[in-house]
Symmetry: C2
Subunit: 390 residues, 2 copies
């Protein structure tokens, strides 16, 4: 079977924005199509990733709505949803459509507009992705579950508050250089430590924001990428893994390792015939600071309890050995849930085509990986791409 | 690339039911897995089709929730949505996953529970799939748009009220013999004509109900189907077409032909290398009586304006030349929106494996076709299957 390529990408600024969800998605999509030199081309399918547009914005039926709004009717149209990993799920579906021969050119657009509802309403909508029976009805929230995990991790491995704060500090350091990031301001360990407690031990700066925004990538078969003249500026799909875990955190074997990440990463590495140490740049799902440390370990980049060491060593910086979340991650780039997975893949695509913003470019980035979490740690997709630059 | 097969199916009764949406979906899924001789097998992916579970039932994040509830973690999990064609979209995504090599065994389950909200609230939720700017804000509903089309069709082609009533009469005649149908009672032309007007000229019996229910199919690669010992009782995917149309009816070229059906059918027939006259049994999307007549014409089974002739001729009956909606269609089988597309494919699968309920079995059914409409005529999927019986 032929190879499948990312041939173009587009993204809006992430933040609290004026534009409607449809305008955001249209803007990101049009930029991606232009970037792919595919404006005006026949699009076979549009895959729309969004967690809950109906309840966040009152707008539904995005599949046809986006096809119509972009002027690409009669393209097939489907919405893909797996919670905050909807974006990577949609890219996975796009890969499958092209690889199976159902399509040659697929537009993927992830979007969420979370600021139209009150903070309380947003929390209630997001709480649907944790177990009602076992968690939500006792008052648990995604943040309190992350706090539970952080507390256990600190207990088991001696992680300190100052160490944990290094994660958002790095995120903001990178975000400050990313012109599309939700937060573009550096912060300090002291500031993280002293910010209001969301759920002890996690403070405000341990938690990603709710954001508005959209991100888009264009996927193509090798033949189509060649026809469009962009195969030399593309990134090739090498591996995809997708795994679920038990919905309720209390039903899982471990609090300090997310088995869905382990399973999805194993499948992606196997398919790509590559190893963690062969990857040049990572986008990991850091919705909460503790998750980046756990992701690093579950990805096989450090032993259990040792994730913080490679953060302290500087290896995860843009110019380090294993750069992680170079564009600010969910913490600083922002987290419009349905858009995040697509934004991660867009950011890796820019790295692999040597077009990351300014000083955020990783030198000689040849292989990149994204890791997108759905639900609270229960629906993960890992993708691995390789640069096709010639 | 290898062939992809439907190897098992399950369905709950459709109607106004007591069980939760999760219980319905679980029941349909477990039956499908058992039917496929795949209970206890490793499922690579579960695809969940549902139009709007969050607003109809308050329950979200169905991808992981269903994987957990069925005990198939760590299967990948994704929800697929394209309005009332979500079910067929999910089957399409499952085909692509298997054909692309991402999966060998995929469970698809479509579900909707529409009776937990008031009739008014259900109408408001469903109205999201028509254009807000051009239609909904002027008071249009799916039923009023169908009435507009029916009125135009009657004007252009001289279709009479009595003729139109033959469509629901046939649906109920078949539904009366389908033990899982929402309505299992025959009706007469007089009863259709005299039932309350929903939107003139359409009466209550021209319109499908809102229903609760779930339907499931198991998909497998040829190799996996062989290993499970079920390839001889499977149906092989031959063709899939998926097309959108403009969201607003007023933006379309014609009121009396749905171009998304024409486009999706053309692509499906081309992929299957077959023609309309080669199909032995059809499931067409008859959410409103007028749509079955238009579907027949758009599918290439009759010339424009002549669809009613083959209904009057008896050719569309179970023992006719081109049996259509043998299990009652949306009108009598019912229409839990996200479940419908999967139910149609389940019904065709039963026909092709000679297991349709009693007198509803079409003799020697070798090729079957399903046609699922999303939105109001703007997101269509056509699938074609072939019997693999040996």
């Amino acid at each position: 079977m032929g190879s499948v390529h990312v041939i173009g990408a587009g993204m809006t600024k992430f933040g609290h924005l004026e534009e409607s969800i449809i305008d955001l998605a249209r803007n990101a999509s049009l930029r991606a199509l232009e970037d792919a030199q595919a404006s005006g081309e026949k699009i076979d399918h549009i895959l729309v990733a969004s967690q809950n547009p109906d309840e966040f914005t009152g707008i539904g039926h995005l599949s046809t709505l986006m096809a119509d709004s972009l002027g690409i009717v009669p393209a097939g149209g489907t919405r893909i949803e797996s919670g905050p990993s909807s974006g990577a799920s949609a890219v996975e579906a796009g890969f499958a459509m092209i690889r199976s021969g159902l399509a040659e050119l697929v537009l993927v657009v992830g979007m969420e507009k979370m600021s139209e509802v009150s903070r309380e309403r947003a929390s209630a909508i997001l709480a649907k992705m944790i177990s009602k029976e076992n968690e939500a009805r006792y008052g648990a929230t995604p943040a309190s579950l992350a706090a539970l995990i952080a507390r256990r991790y600190m207990h088991d491995y001696g992680l300190t508050r100052d160490e944990l704060s290094l994660v958002p500090v790095k995120a903001h350091r990178n975000g400050a250089r990313n012109p599309l990031a939700h937060f573009q301001k550096e912060i300090t360990v002291e500031k993280v430590n002293a910010s209001p407690i969301v759920s002890s031990p996690l403070t405000l700066f341990d938690c990603c924001p709710t954001s508005d925004g959209a991100a888009s990538v264009v996927l193509a078969s090798a033949e189509k990428a060649r026809k469009l003249g962009v195969i030399g500026d593309s990134a090739t799909f090498k591996g995809i893994g997708h795994a679920t875990d038990f919905l309720a955190v209390q039903h899982r074997e471990s609090l300090t390792s997310l088995s869905a990440t382990v399973n999805a990463a194993r499948d992606a590495f196997r398919m790509a015939k590559t190893r963690p140490e062969d990857i040049d740049v990572f986008e990991l799902h850091d919705a909460f600071s503790i998750l980046e440390i756990i992701d690093i370990e579950d990805m096989g980049l450090a032993k259990q309890g040792k994730g913080i060491e490679i953060i302290k060593s500087g290896d995860v910086e843009v110019d380090g050995k294993i750069p992680i979340n170079t564009t600010g991650g969910l913490k600083a780039r922002g987290h419009p849930t349905g858009a995040t997975g697509v934004a991660q893949i867009r950011d890796i695509f820019l790295q692999l085509t040597n077009r990351a913003p300014g000083s955020l470019q990783v030198p000689n980035a040849h292989r990149g990986l994204t890791h997108n979490i759905g639900g609270f740690g229960n629906n993960m997709i890992v993708t691995i791409f390789e640069s096709n630059s010639i």
